[in-house]
């Protein structure tokens, strides 16, 4: 054997080291993707805590918006089934109980108490409507369990109840109304439209979204005017008089946070009355509908929703392109035959967060859980979520995109995804300033 010089030997060791590192890296990223929480100083531990971990899930299961309960259930039930099949949470089986909020605050509050005090639930997740979540949040200190909000969007939950009032038990996984008002304005700022009108549902969610939209867009594009507003009560059967009153003002851009089955009526009637034509531009339509990519809307309207409209959600199944997200979407499709709705993803993530929380802290002590969650990073199908300490809001970015009718999918898809870093459009404590923050919008968004 020829003599191997020290230098060559070191080279071989280095090469081996690099090879191992690369191989290990590839191996690591190829291993089964799953939701996880990363928190400095916390590690996973083993050993059973309780015979059964019980989760209470409250959503709308009756009335005209009963779809939303169904969409949430698909996410959380999938997670529970997966976890139980893999052995549960440190050996404990997970049980999930579904209750109907009926979109009534008093009913939801009653169910929270019933779930915690009668059924012995350890965690509560869910809540669709903003009015309900504020009432429920007030009760959480009394029952002293964690609440993971998976849908309700009012900024008042995190800005006022968690941050100002100090209700520590509440965490929100879903992006709030910042997506509907502020991010929408970022998109609007890139469109040629100068005269913005709106058609919104006549309640808090509509007012808040429009306020945030106007304030943000006025700063980004001082040349823009807000020419008219139309407010539609829930359950409007005929949007045509509202549409026509808005069209009188000759807008060339429309912002609308209509959602649910009112949205179906609205889109259909908007087409008939030429509202879409009024906002057409070279690249598509200056039509921004923040919750337009909600799965129920896409399945109902399909190719009736014009291509080129700007829509978003609180999660879009095709973004981000990570193994974890792909695995989740496939599992959801296999189990339910539908693409996941945004509130399905948030519910799925909430259940897995509970699992990881218990595994990491080896306890059900709520204060330990709160401390662990604050300032933690969550890897989830929707991407990387950072759980802000001061207001317990999960900060993550969801893009807007333009509707595209793709025959290889049963529902429309989105193209031309536009993302803005979450820190730029989420309001920050102490919530005194209005976005945009850091003037970053100029660098981030290419021409639409």
């Amino acid at each position: 054997m020829a003599e191997v010089s020290r230098r060559e030997f070191l080279k071989y060791i280095a090469a081996l080291g690099v090879g191992l590192a690369i191989g290990g890296g590839i191996g690591y990223s190829a291993r089964k993707p799953e939701v996880k929480i990363v928190k400095k100083g916390a590690e996973e531990v083993g050993g059973k805590i309780k015979e059964k971990i019980k989760i209470g899930h409250i959503a709308i299961f009756s009335g005209p918006f009963s779809t939303y309960g169904e969409l949430q259930k698909r996410g959380s039930l999938l997670a529970v089934e997966e976890i139980n099949k893999a052995g549960g949470i440190m050996g404990s089986k997970v049980e999930i109980i579904y209750r109907d909020s009926a979109a009534k605050p008093a009913e939801a509050v009653k169910q929270v108490r019933s779930l915690v005090e009668s059924e012995g639930c350890d965690f509560i997740i869910g809540i669709d409507s903003s009015g309900v979540v504020l009432a429920v949040a007030e009760v959480m200190p009394e029952v002293n369990k964690l609440l993971f909000v998976t849908h309700a969007a009012t900024h008042r939950l995190t800005e006022e109840l968690v941050y100002k009032k100090g209700i520590k038990q509440v965490f929100r996984i879903a992006v709030p109304v910042y997506q509907d008002g502020i991010m929408a304005a970022f998109i609007a700022s890139k469109l040629p439209a100068k005269r913005w009108g709106c058609v919104h549902p006549d309640y808090e969610y509509g007012y808040a979204s429009w306020e945030l939209f106007k304030k943000t867009l006025a700063k980004l594009r001082p040349d823009v005017e807000f020419v008219g507003e139309a407010w539609a009560k829930i359950g409007t059967t005929d949007f045509t008089p509202l549409i026509s009153s808005i069209m009188e003002k000759k807008p060339d851009g429309i912002h609308t946070v209509e959602w649910g089955f009112d949205l179906f009526t609205f889109v259909r009637q908007a087409k008939q009355t030429g509202l879409f034509d009024a906002v057409k531009y070279d690249g598509g339509y200056a039509w921004i509908n923040p919750m337009g990519y909600s799965i129920d809307a896409m399945e109902a309207l399909k190719s009736e929703y014009p291509e080129g409209c700007w829509v978003s959600g609180r999660y879009i199944w095709m973004y981000p392109d990570t193994p974890l997200n792909k695995k989740f979407v496939k599992a959801h499709l296999d189990r339910w035959g539908h693409f996941p709705a945004y509130s399905g993803e948030t519910s799925y993530t909430a259940v897995y967060m509970i699992k990881k929380l218990i595994e990491m802290t080896k306890t059900l002590d709520i204060d330990t859980h709160i401390k662990t969650l604050e300032d933690s990073t969550v890897y989830s199908p929707a991407g990387v979520r950072f759980i802000r300490k001061k207001d317990h809001q999960a900060v993550y970015s969801v893009p807007y995109g333009q509707i595209k009718h793709d025959p290889s999918y049963p529902i429309p898809v989105l193209t031309n995804l536009q993302s803005v870093p979450a820190e730029d459009y989420y309001r920050h404590p102490p919530f005194k300033e209005m976005p945009p923050f850091r003037e970053l919008y100029k660098k981030v968004l290419p021409k639409a």
Binding site: P64, E70, W231, T237, D238, P241, E248, Q272
Partner: protein, 285 residues
């Protein structure tokens, strides 16, 4: 404000009103004859939407689905009348409202069990628009106006020119004498109920192409039907037509001039009429 804008808005208001009229016509008709206020009228509207949608999936013929769906609803109405409603004739209003409210709950969940919670849509019908006063008037609105007027004429014809209509009117005005003269109240009440339910179902079927069928969709409509019926005068078909027009036009013009107030307009109109003329526009004292 450009006067053509107001006129156009008026036309849209009339189209809106036609939907209210079609649904309320059945309600006020049934009340006039049987003196029962049917809260489940909204549920029949919902069933009409679902039946029309499902039959369309099978036959691809909208008009056929519309009438067949409404007929199915009429049959269900007849069954309810024979099995349940007939047992509460003559009872005070709270009992009628509560029983029919119970029916609403049952139908809402039945719909969810059979069709699921997710709202369903059918392909749009009567698509497109025509140019009126420089604005796009949806063909669907035109179709609603035509349908509303047609139904008004049909009702008028049936009630004044047919034997059945005459008997219905007789038993409405004076039940005792009518029965003594040999009219069959069972038959008349049952057919009156069927008739009313038919129009509720028709309303639902007319509405579903421009929107969707969802559980609980009757809730929004029933309050409007009640308001229109009361303002027009309970039992008065003429009154329901006029008051539907009033409500539709007020809401439509309201959207143009006072958009922040539209949520309360129908209730304000209701209160105003009840204070000034409690029996309604065409009601009997």
């Amino acid at each position: 404000m450009d006067p053509s804008a107001i006129i156009f808005q008026l036309i849209l208001g009339i189209a809106s009103a036609m939907l209210y009229w079609i649904v309320s016509s059945g309600l006020t008709f049934t009340f006039g004859v049987t003196r029962v206020l049917n809260f489940a009228h909204g549920a029949f509207y919902m069933l009409g939407a679902y039946f029309t949608l499902t039959i369309f999936e099978l036959t691809q013929n909208y008009i056929f689905s519309l009438f067949f769906g409404a007929t199915l609803v009429a049959l269900i109405g007849a069954a309810c009348e024979r099995g349940l409603i007939s047992r509460i004739y003559g009872l005070p209003v709270p009992f009628q409202l509560t029983l029919t409210f119970g029916l609403v709950l049952v139908f809402d969940d039945l719909v969810r069990i059979f069709w699921g919670s997710v709202p369903k849509m059918m392909p749009p019908q009567f698509v497109g628009s025509i140019n009126v006063l420089g604005r796009a008037l949806p063909i669907f609105s035109v179709y609603l106006i035509i349908a509303g007027i047609a139904i008004a004429l049909i009702m008028y014809f049936l009630l004044s020119k047919t034997d059945w209509g005459m008997e219905i009117r007789a038993i409405t005005v004076d039940p005792e004498t009518a029965v003594c003269s040999g009219l069959n109240p069972t038959f008349l009440y049952a057919t009156a109920f069927m008739f009313g339910s038919f129009f509720a179902g028709l309303g639902g079927g007319l509405y579903v192409p421009i929107s969707s069928a969802a559980p609980g969709m009757g809730e929004h409509v029933i309050i409007y039907a009640f308001i229109v019926t009361v303002i027009g005068g309970l039992g008065s078909i003429k009154g329901a037509f006029i008051s539907a027009l009033i409500i539709g036009i007020i809401e439509s013009l309201g959207a143009l001039f006072v958009p922040w107030m539209t949520i309360a307009l129908p209730y304000i109109a209701l209160a105003a009429v009840l204070i000034l003329r409690p029996e309604g526009i065409f009601g009997e004292k």
